[in-house]
Amino acid sequence: MAIIVDRDTRLVVAGLTGSEGRFHGLRNRAYGTNLVAGVTPGKGGQDVEGVPVFDTVAEAVSEAGANTSMIFVPARFAPDAIYEAVDAGIQTVICITEHIPAHEMLRVYTYVRPKGVTLIGPNCPGVLSPGKANVGIIPAEVFQAGSIGLVSRSGTLTYQIGNELAQRGLGNSSIVGIGGDPIVGSSFIDILEKFEGDPETEYVVLVGEIGGDEEEKAAQYVADHLSKPVFSYIAGFSAPPGKTMGHAGAIISGSSGTAAAKKDALEAVGIKVGTTPTEVAELVVAAAA
């Protein structure tokens, strides 16, 4: 199984004819992802190394059977591309694009959410299910297939932890980067729910960071709903208050949003928390190996 992307994924890339879309789209195909179409208005009828390009997502669905869309178009066009995908019946949308205005994503989210579509991102590295499919920009070569589900707000930090696990001989069922924007399509909780339902996932690693209270909410959700052991790492123990640390919401304001508070909340429900990527990897090894 794995979650979100797997061997049943039939991928259409919005922006396949752009330089980044082409590079990563073809890289995903080279990994084994079933890349069935690209969409670029006005370029319908062309192809990108054999992948047919359509003018609309509706055609990619009806002609090529696409069921998953990766959005790789510039921020100004990305909300439209998400609406187009969802209204064409695409069930999984993974939006890599960064710098989409928050108010636009808010409307997109509010529209998409009740439809039961899985929206990952924006401003995220995508989803990798090792050995099955890779949709996004995650460097698949550093991950191995295995039983650990990994979910993170941060891209490169996810690679770091996957890498630490791989060096210790452990692999992943799926790696999900949910993105660091104010409004993302899927929260930690959404992904935890999917991992709980995935038979291939035996352990879950949740990689959080300072700011907001998503980690605290996730802790409560784990306590209430997860039967699988969860481990966590939080970035930003040394972050100063009042400074935005890269991600729009990564900021400690007053006493809330600190890494220490998040660690406490997670530990209070029995989740082991590492303070460095290496430490969390070792905690998982101790439990799983």
Binding site: A102, H103, L106, P139, G155, L157, Y233, A248
Partner: protein, 380 residues
């Protein structure tokens, strides 16, 4: 992007929210002239992006133009929480009968805009929430339903505003503030205090306003307001170069790719016993020029004794980063020790490029933890 009080009020005014008449001044003479134009008593207010202006002596009442000039002279140049006052807002003084609080924030957890309103204004909202939670009305808005008149009623009646004239004016301001929030692409709009004058007029006496950076491209007038003069000069340089940079207080300069990994790098340096000099994120698509720009910012900080380059390539390609490092070292004649750790996309190629050039101050380490330890040693 945070706006100064007067900038936020300018936007309030554009959406029909009542504010006092005022003028910007950057010298005591301008303050005097502003007070003359406005007439009567004025308030001279420091324009800085930090709280606690009042306690720090940054807000003063002036009876006449001469007094305004004097007060401006007192306030200009003040250091308020590290922000030097270079701009003043001179506005008509208001009589205050009541102080309320009204805000809209972006509730990331609920994924909805959140209205907060209370008749307990004039203090920090966290304080009201802690001391008298029932006095604070919180109400989410569904982004697709949008603003509807019932929202104002819930806030105004819920907070116990009893005067019909106030109810009407505040309901009107609530609707306008929502439009202002959405159409300005704001992440936060706060009016504290929202005052009622003795004659029953309601207006915004202060503004706190944050605009979404990602939406600035469609608000050119707002983007042009960015005040770089008061910020840390290194942070201003970084912004100019498009580098995400936060100045810290230690000796190990840090450069990572991606916010999470960069934050984690700061943590690991602390764990290894070092003191990070900064947080610097190369971003998702870092190329050679990005590396050069980031190093230019980091090396300007005289406290930096060593630099830790922590890259895990995804969309970023390690070979590009390696070339950027070599170019920067050569062009800027960097002699500080640089510890580099490369993993991910094209990492082998990147390490090969570095190994071939092998400048003497460059140290390549295999893991993040090893690299952190080495950088801390070299900074000692």
């Amino acid at each position: 992007m945070d706006l100064l009080e007067y900038q936020g009020k300018e936007l309030f005014k554009r959406f029909g929210i009542p504010v006092s008449e005022g003028r910007v001044a950057t010298t005591p003479a301008e303050a005097r002239k502003a007070a003359e134009e406005i007439g009567g008593a004025v308030v001279v207010k420091a324009q800085v992006l930090t709280g606690g202006r009042g306690k720090a002596g940054g807000v003063k009442l002036a009876d006449d133009p001469a007094d305004a000039e004097q007060k401006a002279n007192d306030i200009l140049g003040l250091d308020i929480n590290g922000h030097i006052v270079r701009t003043l807002w001179i506005e008509s003084a208001s009589d205050i009968a009541k102080e309320y609080y009204l805000s809209i924030t972006f509730d990331r957890g609920a994924k909805k805009p959140l209205f907060m309103f209370t008749t307990q204004g004039g203090m920090e909202i966290e304080e009201v929430a802690a001391k008298d939670p029932d006095a604070l009305v919180r109400l989410h808005v569904d982004a697709l339903e949008g603003y509807q008149p019932w929202i104002a009623r819930r806030l105004v009646y819920g907070a116990g505003v009893e005067d019909p004239g106030e109810q009407k004016q505040i309901a009107d301001i609530i609707g306008k503030l929502y439009r202002c929030f959405v159409e300005s692409d704001a992440m936060l709009t706060e009016i504290n205090p929202l005052i009622v004058t003795p004659d029953g007029t309601v207006k915004a006496l202060d503004s706190k306003f944050t605009v979404d950076d990602s939406a600035l491209y469609r608000h050119e007038d707002v983007a042009a307001l960015r005040d770089t003069s008061a910020a840390d000069p290194l942070e201003a340089l970084a912004r100019e170069k498009g580098v995400t940079y936060v100045k810290l207080d230690g000796s190990v300069g840090i450069l990572g790719n991606g916010a999470g990994l960069s934050m984690s790098t700061v943590d690991v340096v602390v764990t290894a016993g070092g003191k990070p000099a900064n947080f610097c994120d190369l971003g998702g698509g870092g190329n050679a020029q990005g590396v050069v720009d980031a190093l230019e910012v980091i090396t300007r900080d005289a406290q930096v004794k060593s630099i830790f380059f922590n890259i895990f390539g995804g969309i970023t390609r390690c070979d590009e980063v390696a070339r950027g490092v070599l170019e920067a070292v050569e062009r800027m004649r960097i002699e500080l020790p640089i510890v580099v750790r490369l993993d991910g996309t094209n990492a082998d190629e990147g390490r090969r490029i570095l190994a071939e050039a092998a400048p003497p101050n460059l140290h390549v380490e295999p893991t993040m933890l090893d690299a952190a330890k080495r950088a801390v040693e070299l900074a000692a």
